[in-house]
């Protein structure tokens, strides 16, 4: 899967309204962020640093744990899922996990949703209408997020039309 980690981190920084600093991909594809002479290595660590700078505090330790879990999930699995089989498995899993939830963590939008949204943007944009329907819960979650222009930033809106008749029975002239 073609996920641009740097771009993703820049977008997160922009969403959190913090300075992105200088973000590079170091050895072994680990992202490295340099800001004010301090460097942070690793995707999850960088996002936690950004959260700290943005003064985003979670009160419930379980919520932090869940955010951490999703961030690790994003970098270890989502970003590395290449090939249609892997992507399909991942979407299936996410669809299952999102079937009872509006957001990934608790009842409000967190940085976990934001990151997963950026990582999935390409995949969702390339899905066929039938696949979008197949992963209905992922589609619903994604569509909900992209309505927020702060989240969406410059990304294109992925179309989730519900009128599948257009596809199933094209008009003949």
């Amino acid at each position: 899967m073609n996920v641009n980690i740097i771009k993703c981190l820049m977008q997160v920084a922009s969403y959190l309204k913090v300075q992105p600093g200088k973000i590079q991909i170091g050895s072994n594809l680990i992202p490295v962020r340099t800001i004010n002479d301090s460097t942070t290595k690793g995707f999850v660590s960088i996002i936690f640093e950004m959260l700290k700078e943005a003064k985003c505090n979670f009160t419930n330790p379980l919520d932090i744990a869940e955010v951490r879990q999703w961030l690790e999930y994003c970098i270890v699995y989502t970003a590395r899922a290449d090939g249609s089989q892997n992507i399909e498995n991942m979407l299936k899993e996410l669809n299952n996990l999102l079937s009872t939830k509006t957001y990934l963590v608790s009842y409000k939008m967190t940085v976990a949703d934001i990151v997963l949204y950026y990582m999935l943007h390409n995949v969702m944009g390339n899905l066929s209408y039938l696949d979008k329907e197949k992963y209905l819960h992922v589609s619903r979650w994604f569509d909900n997020l992209q309505q927020n222009s702060l989240v969406r930033q410059k990304n294109t809106i992925v179309d989730f039309k519900t009128n599948y008749l257009i596809v199933a029975a094209p008009v003949k002239h």
Partner: protein, 958 residues
């Protein structure tokens, strides 16, 4: 209530257990299966269930159970990132699977040495001064590894800090309790569980950066085992005694009882064209490397090739050049022959298909197949030109394209050049003979068909048993043919240039090229030796293995048609056991094209001044093995300068120069120590892989192993510094002698390994080493480096092997072979009326096309042409109106004379240009403002003179 759900033997469960003890949580452990109904949300294990929340990523769960002190938070986060994205996947992939990926293994080894340098006897924990979740997680990940003796020796050898840290943690009560509560089997099993429970996705090579592997010296990261070192020691001290002597050159080469007999063919190049680099690497060069390798291994090797000369294309070409087909063949045979000679392709015989032997064998095979009942006659409709008295092959008929919407008048019988679609010759509108222009008549003509459906069962079983040795693409193509079901194939044609059909009533027909070309291999062998049957119908006690090299387009003929014919004969002909097919080679991301002059063709290569060995090296380096690859000039120069010059050439030259400078050009006395044997063991490893790769004709890999050996050599020399040692005391001098001696011996080995790839270079090195031919041999059974050049051996004169290819030269060559490019600016602007006519015509064409309902892909290019034409028309119109305006301006003038106005106009233009240049150069406003003022004044003057108001320049822009 906190519950850990886990399967058995899952090392991640240890992470959670130990963390819960440290974090003083009360947990219960439940052993479940992944499919268990309790876990509705995920099938990742272990999972931690806390108050309706399920944490299924182990590091997160452990972090939750035992959170770090806040001032350590950032460091802990970084280590968790490191563990989850590097250590854990690389260990799971290395120890949990049977596939060995060197790159992933190296990542693991780098991870372990990172850990080793982090902890020590004074720094007891990875982060801070107290135990943290990081220690727990990493310890758990490594536990099954260090508890297994074999793995520990293999991976933790010499990593004493890391080992000490592991053992010290183990003593802590929390670790002890967890190990008691949840048992894990030491060894590979937990890593298999890790892989399956945490679902590490297949790690493609891109997931781990190559950089690490490159920058870390290789013989540090891959330590050879004790056995490997012992084997290297033994082989070295035995000297060359075990090696057989190379065979004498006997002509003709014949199969011999009890020995390996290898017959190699390369697809016969078609005679009517000059071969390009893709043709050369696709068959003849690949076959040559393999043949030379087989000879090096003392196999009885026969390498056969030749030009394929019969067929329509030769006839067409002959018509074009106005000579007979035979003359065409003679001319191009010479061209092919000289090109292959220049590339050092060592055929045992390079023949041709227009020989009496070919006629005899083709006819015999046909008659026998006919007798065996695998032929039948069917009548086929064909166009006959009565004036020329010949049936017209597809390319000899022209006429109107039959496809709706395309009104092209000169479509060929096989394809229309205008719409690009395939055409059936009999469907052409108003067909005409290409030679005389008469309208041909449709006539029934009887042709022979090879009854492939009848041969299918035989072929199927043959393919099942042999196709394992084929290259993957060959297997896929052949299987897809079989899957589709075979149909009878027409094998004769009403042509003149070919082998006549030897049956009364059919003498005026010839065999279709695809039937007789593969028989060329047999007839060319017969030209080589009268005892050709020993190769093609081998005796039971001297079997022959047939290897055939080709590009993938030739696979159907070699995997289906030709074997089917041979099987149908049932006379014990040898059938191919190894089809080695390549993909295509592109030229700088495009295609080679003779007509456009794009790409390097066989005869061009000689004129570039680059030696044929460098060409061979580069072509083999980019050989399109599993996918299409491309030839790139920049890459050629880079590979030459970095691999040949700096790596291989540098090593070979340095070793000999030291021997000459310090030890009088004699291989010095050698007393090998452990370091030297480690180097030899490392080189042995590459040597073994080299033999394995080339035997499977993975020629690209072979070349990489050669380069790795010289890389090892360079590192060894760099680390040992013989130029420093030689100035030291007696002991150091002895050491210098050994290092230089070992390097000379490795050079000698390299000269042997290079022989198949770069024969000239190999010979040059051997001459420089003064090495005897007796040592120019490979023994696949004992692939170990021996002492080939003993102490006291007199060396020859060293000289550099390769030259640098300058980038400026590359640019020149690139331009030279880029073809004739049509630049738009050069095309003269057509006049308006011609363009208008063209636009109308094109518009009509597009309308017809669109209304005919063809696919967008068909009409889109035409639309593009239309748009382009319209643009041209627009600009043409504009320029002509400008001319008119200018004329008008001058005419309108009453007060000032035409000359004066012209002068002012000129000044205005000049000044405008000046201002534009200034602005675009980025000069500050203060600089260009005065000039603008002048311009405006001039314009005002002009306006006054002509009576037309001045138009501000800026707004003319579209």
């Amino acid at each position: 209530m906190v519950v850990i759900y886990s399967n058995i033997n899952n090392l991640s469960t240890l992470k959670l257990l130990i963390s819960s003890y440290f974090g003083k949580h009360d947990v219960t452990l439940e052993i479940v299966r992944c499919t268990d109904a309790k876990l509705l949300e995920t099938d990742r294990l272990p999972a931690l269930s806390v108050a309706d929340t399920l944490l299924f990523i182990p590091n997160t769960a452990a972090h939750y159970l035992f959170p770090p002190k806040s001032f350590d938070e950032k460091q802990v986060n970084e280590w968790l990132d490191w563990e989850s994205s590097l250590l854990s996947p690389s260990i799971a992939w290395t120890l949990g699977t049977s596939t060995k990926n060197v790159q992933i293994k190296n990542t693991l080894i780098t991870c372990l040495s990172t850990l080793d340098s982090t902890v020590s006897s004074t720094k007891k924990f990875i982060v801070g001064k107290e135990i943290s979740v990081v220690d727990i997680i990493i310890w758990s990940t490594l536990q099954p590894l260090y508890k297994n003796e074999n793995l520990m020796v293999e991976y933790l050898f010499k990593l004493n800090n890391l080992l000490g840290w592991l053992l010290q943690l183990e003593k802590l009560s929390q670790f002890q309790d967890a190990s008691k509560a949840y048992k894990i089997e030491p060894g590979n099993v937990p890593y298999q569980v890790l892989l399956s429970s945490s679902k590490y996705l297949n790690i493609s090579e891109t997931s781990f950066n190559v950089e690490v592997e490159k920058s870390s010296p290789q013989h540090v990261s891959e330590v050879p085992s004790e056995q490997e070192i012992a084997a290297a020691k033994k082989a070295w001290n035995e000297g060359g005694k075990k090696l057989p002597l190379p065979k004498k050159n006997i002509i003709p080469v014949l199969p011999i009882k009890g020995e390996k007999n290898i017959l190699i063919t390369s697809a016969l190049p078609y005679v009517n064209n000059v071969p390009h680099l893709g043709n050369i690497i696709g068959c003849v060069l690949s076959g040559d490397v393999f043949a030379r390798f087989c000879r090096l291994c003392n196999y009885n090797t026969l390498y056969i090739c030749g030009t394929d000369e019969y067929g329509t294309a030769t006839e067409t070409k002959a018509l074009e050049e106005g000579i007979t087909p035979q003359q065409i063949c003679d001319k191009y045979f010479q061209i092919h022959n000289s090109i292959y000679r220049w590339f050092n392709i060592g055929f045992d015989h390079f023949g041709r298909t227009t020989t009496p032997e070919q006629t005899k064998i083709t006819q015999k095979i046909f008659l026998e197949l006919n007798q065996n009942g695998f032929m039948h006659i069917e009548s086929v409709e064909q166009l006959l030109c009565e004036k020329c008295n010949r049936y017209l092959a597809d390319r000899f008929v022209e006429g109107g394209c039959p496809h709706p919407g395309c009104n092209y008048e000169d479509a060929r019988g096989d394809q229309c050049d205008s719409c690009g679609k395939l055409v059936n010759a009999s469907e052409l509108k108003n067909p005409r003979c290409k030679v005389c222009g008469t309208r041909p008549i449709m006539k029934q003509s009887e042709q022979f068909f090879l009854d492939l459906p009848k041969l299918e069962p035989l072929l199927y079983h043959w393919m099942e048993s042999t196709s394992n040795g084929w290259s993957n693409n060959a297997r896929v193509i052949a299987k897809s043919w079989m899957k589709e079901g075979l149909k009878p194939r027409c094998i004769t044609r009403d042509l003149k240039w070919g082998v006549p059909v030897p049956l009364d009533g059919y003498w005026d027909k010839v065999f279709y090229v695809w039937f007789d070309a593969p028989i060329g291999y047999i007839s060319i062998t017969e030209r080589y030796t009268k005892e050709w049957e020993k190769w093609w119908k081998p005796a039971a006690d001297a079997p022959v293995t047939l290897y055939q090299f080709m590009a993938k387009d030739n696979v159907p003929f070699h995997s289906v048609m030709f074997p089917a014919s041979l099987l149908g004969l049932n006379q014990g002909y040898v059938t191919v056991s190894h089809i080695m097919a390549t993909e295509y080679l592109n030229y700088e991301d495009g295609k080679f094209s003779k007509s456009r002059g794009v790409g390097v063709f066989g005869n061009d290569a000689q004129n570039t001044g680059i030696p044929s060995d460098v060409w061979r090296f580069y072509l083999l380096y980019v050989r399109p093995e599993s996918q299409d690859s491309s030839f790139s000039w920049n890459d050629l120069a880079t590979k030459n300068n970095s691999e040949l010059l700096n790596n291989l050439g540098n090593f070979v030259n340095r070793a000999q120069v030291f021997a000459e400078k310090f030890f009088g050009g004699v291989v010095p006395n050698m007393i090998l120590n452990e370091d030297d044997y480690i180097l030899l063991a490392l080189c042995n490893r590459e040597l073994r892989e080299y033999i394995k790769a080339v035997e499977k004709s993975k020629l690209r890999d072979g070349i990489r192993h050669i380069l790795s050996i010289s890389r090892h050599g360079n590192q060894y020399m760099q680390a040992s510094e013989p130029w420093v040692l030689v100035k030291g005391g007696d002991q150091e001098k002895e050491r210098a002698k050994t290092v230089v001696g070992v390097c000379c011996n490795i050079t000698c080995l390299l000269s042997v390994l290079l022989l198949p790839y770069m024969p000239d270079t190999s010979r040059t090195i051997r001459k420089q080493l003064n090495a005897s031919d007796a040592s120019c041999i490979l023994s696949p059974e004992n692939p170990e480096i021996t002492n080939l050049l003993a102490s006291g051996h007199k060396l020859g004169k060293p000289s550099p092997l390769f030259n640098k290819i300058e980038l400026s030269r590359v640019e020149e060559l690139k331009k030279q072979f880029a073809g004739k490019q049509v630049t738009k600016s050069d095309t003269p602007t057509k006049d308006v009326s011609a363009l208008e006519a063209a636009v109308t015509q094109q518009a009509e064409k597009v309308r017809v096309l669109k209304s005919s309902g063809v696919a967008k892909t068909v009409w889109q290019p035409e639309v593009d042409i239309l748009i382009d034409l319209k643009k041209q028309l627009e600009s043409a119109k504009k320029s002509s109106t400008n001319v008119l305006n200018d004329v008008g301006k001058t005419m309108n003038n009453g007060a000032t004379s035409a000359e004066e106005i012209a002068v002012i106009q000129e000044n205005v233009d000049k000044q405008a240009l000046h201002v534009r240049n200034l602005k675009s150069s980025g000069a500050p406003k203060s600089e260009w403002q005065p000039q603008v003022t002048i311009l405006l004044e001039l314009k005002a003057k002009l306006a006054f003179a002509t009576g037309v108001s001045a138009t501000p320049t800026g707004k003319n822009k579209k």
